[in-house]
């Protein structure tokens, strides 16, 4: 289970419902297809397995994960462990859940604040919006937050973060566009220490994982951070657009290599996207999913809990 930053014992009663609502489309996608495939079938034959593969692949779980799942089903069928198509739904559910649960680990905690959270990702995945929502979430939990505008590259990125700062009444440490992002981080960390804030969230410029110089810049930012606060950044969140396909794996791999990603945030899950790529990423890279973004409002960011995620998928 994910120990969210909500603090102890503050479960929102509406959480499951909101998650359900937010990812309704997701559900309509994968589960409807699975149900359609299974419905009315008397036995498990190759036609049914094809349909299942279709449902899994169009959910972006990737051809390899899909092949894995089908293989385990086939084996069970061969050994006469299952024969009723209706059991398949449960099997797939279990399989997906076990993949997601096996990578769960609690969020980093620090003995002495600030907790430094760095947010990275490719262009347009939703980093700045996620940070706005994260700030809102931490604030509602009664934590003090400081934002760091280290995306000094994209036009108006700093202004975008500042608007989120105003919305959530959070201060933003910034410099001019075009300045060295590591310098901004340095300033922000000094400020965070001086003001004794609980959490510092660092926005970084979107970059494609194939740009080596930009990935090296991330490494430098990490080094700078760790010089001011040992072990910082404590959490490095990779923001991933839920519509991302198999390239998401490569993104996760490269960002983990350079930035030391510790968890994923899946955004834009309110589309028809299925976010199946997170299953592939969890499976191959052993990274937990921390949050999911399900809308454009400040409170549209929910902590990710595999059992609830899967439960709402299969509800």
């Amino acid at each position: 289970m994910l120990k969210s930053l909500l603090g102890p014992g503050t479960p929102q009663p509406s959480l499951l419902d909101r998650l359900k609502q937010g990812i309704q489309k997701t559900r309509a996608g994968l589960v409807t297809k699975l149900d359609d495939a299974i419905y009315g079938r008397k036995e498990i034959d190759s036609g049914l397995l094809d349909e299942l593969e279709y449902a899994l692949i169009t959910a972006d779980v990737g051809p390899r994960t899909a092949a894995d799942i089908l293989e385990s089903i086939r084996q069970r069928v061969d050994r006469h462990l299952v024969s009723d198509p209706a059991e398949l739904r449960g099997l797939i559910r279990e399989h997906l859940l076990s993949v997601l649960e096996s990578v769960e680990r609690p969020l980093a905690e620090v003995a002495e604040p600030p907790l430094v959270v760095m947010v990275v990702g490719v262009n347009g995945s939703g980093k700045t919006t996620t940070i706005g929502k994260l700030a809102h979430r931490f604030k509602t939990d009664g934590r003090s937050v400081l934002l760091c505008a280290a995306d000094t590259f994209r036009a108006a990125a700093i202004e975008q973060l500042e608007i989120w700062g105003t919305r959530t009444a959070t201060e933003v440490i910034r410099q001019q566009q075009g300045s060295d992002p590591s310098a901004v981080i340095f300033d922000a960390l000094q400020a965070a220490k001086a003001r004794k804030v609980d959490t510092l969230i660092v926005d970084t410029a979107g970059r494609l994982h194939t740009k080596e110089n930009l990935m090296a810049e991330l490494e430098k930012m990490r080094r700078t951070a760790s010089r001011v606060v040992p072990d910082a950044p404590h959490e490095v969140l990779l923001v991933l657009d839920a519509t991302t396909g198999q390239n998401g794996l490569e993104q996760a791999r490269k960002f983990t290599g350079s930035a030391g990603v510790t968890g994923l945030v899946l955004t834009k899950l309110d589309g028809t996207a299925k976010g199946g790529i997170v299953v592939a990423i969890s499976r191959e890279l052993n990274l937990p999913i921390r949050y999911v973004g399900v809308g454009e409002q400040a409170d549209d960011l929910l902590p990710f809990e595999p059992d609830k995620f899967i439960a709402s998928l299969f509800a």
């Binding site: 489309k25 279709y54 692949i57 169009t58 959910a59 972006d60 990737g62 051809p63 490719v122 262009n123 347009g124 995945s125 939703g126 706005g132 590259f153 994209r154 036009a155 108006a156 990125a157 202004e159 975008q160 500042e162 608007i163 989120w164 566009q177 494609l208 994982h209 194939t210 740009k211 657009d241 519509t243 991302t244 396909g245 198999q246 390239n247 998401g248 490569e250 993104q251 834009k268 309110d270 589309g271 028809t272 996207a273 299925k274 199946g276 790529i277 454009e296």
Partner: protein, 451 residues
Amino acid sequence: MFDSLSEKLQRVFKNIRGEGTLTAENMEAALKEIRMALLEADVHFKVVKQFIEGVRQKALGQEVLTSFSPAQQVIKIVRDELIAVLGTHPSRLRTANQPPTVVMIVGLQGSGKTTSTGKLAKFLSKSGHRPLVVSVDVYRPAARQQLAVIARDLQMPLYAGTPEETKPLDLARSARREAEQTGRDMVLIDTAGRLHIDDELMAELQELKENLNPTEILFVADAMTGQDAVKSADEFHKRLGITGVILTKMDGDARGGGALSIRHVTGQPLKFIGTGEKFDALEAFHPDRAANRILGMGDVISFIEKVEQNIDQKKAEEMQRKLIDNEFTLEDFRDQLKQLRKLGPLENLIGMMPKMGPLKELKDAKVDEKELTRIVAIIDSMTPRERDNHMLINGARRRRIAKGSGTTVQDVNNLLKQYAQARKMMKSFTGGGFLGKRMAKMKLPFFDNQN
């Protein structure tokens, strides 16, 4: 990362005894690999299915070409099919009869609309248009400011809007009026990102369309999009009737299989690809290059075709004879270089080579196009006698040649040295095997005919 499809196919056929012919059985194994490659490239499942069926039909009906191995034949069929689906020609932007031409740029959040708008404005102004840009994204924080900064950097006129104008339609209308008044022939409208299932926002786009009568509605799609690309493109197309697609973030390592899916479901052409963060990183879409990328392969067949198309058969035979008789003069050298240039940019040629086997060393080869131009200029500055017999070229002649070609004596020396080396190498080599074995090592690659 992924093995390239061509490598996989070669392995499939190697594992089958008597790989000489294409049979129904070994075809199945090949199709399986193709299917996996396409799925990994994020081509939509259903599109893959239809596609594979098409390839199967074509492959089995095909007469056996002895000059290609089965793997190569399959690759060729797949590639031809891909290109057929992607569209055979690069397509261009249309303009309205009565300017200003209105271009709407639409898409999901974060696909790269604003950046593409800036790039497109630059692209258009380079080709003689006078675009005006306007952002009607009244939702995302600082979105309009983002476009304003881009326009300022590009020194491109932008309609900034008045404080009263808070509706996208008002902004767009005023922008068009401003374009008419200031003699701008194109208006690029950057719209807010939206999910295709957001009914309200999709209706807003329809309203914009009805009132502005845009000539082009470009759908901006992220090359990294997965299986969902189909749905969003389809929905945008249904609601708006998009006229083209810009595929962004192609400078990453995404295979861009979404391109195939989008084209398949909308039938609309891919017009541009975004290939970098700089504002000139927008290119016209080339179906053949996209096909290669989706397949993740160096394209040996089109390379061979290209060589065959462009190398003059007679000249090639003549060259072969000269090479053997060691009559290879500087004049011939220049001809070879010129033929080579006809094949197109060398970087592309190298991109087409399979990065394996004897040509492995070419992988990181960098070719300086200017270098070739310089060499041709140097040879051009020689007298016919000098070209015929390079031994004539003494210090004074070298100075003259350098002056005539705008190079230095050192450049001339270098060229003569390379030429002498090439001649020497030819002496040691008789007949075939040249292209494969020597080319990688030579500083100045040129081709003989390999039939």
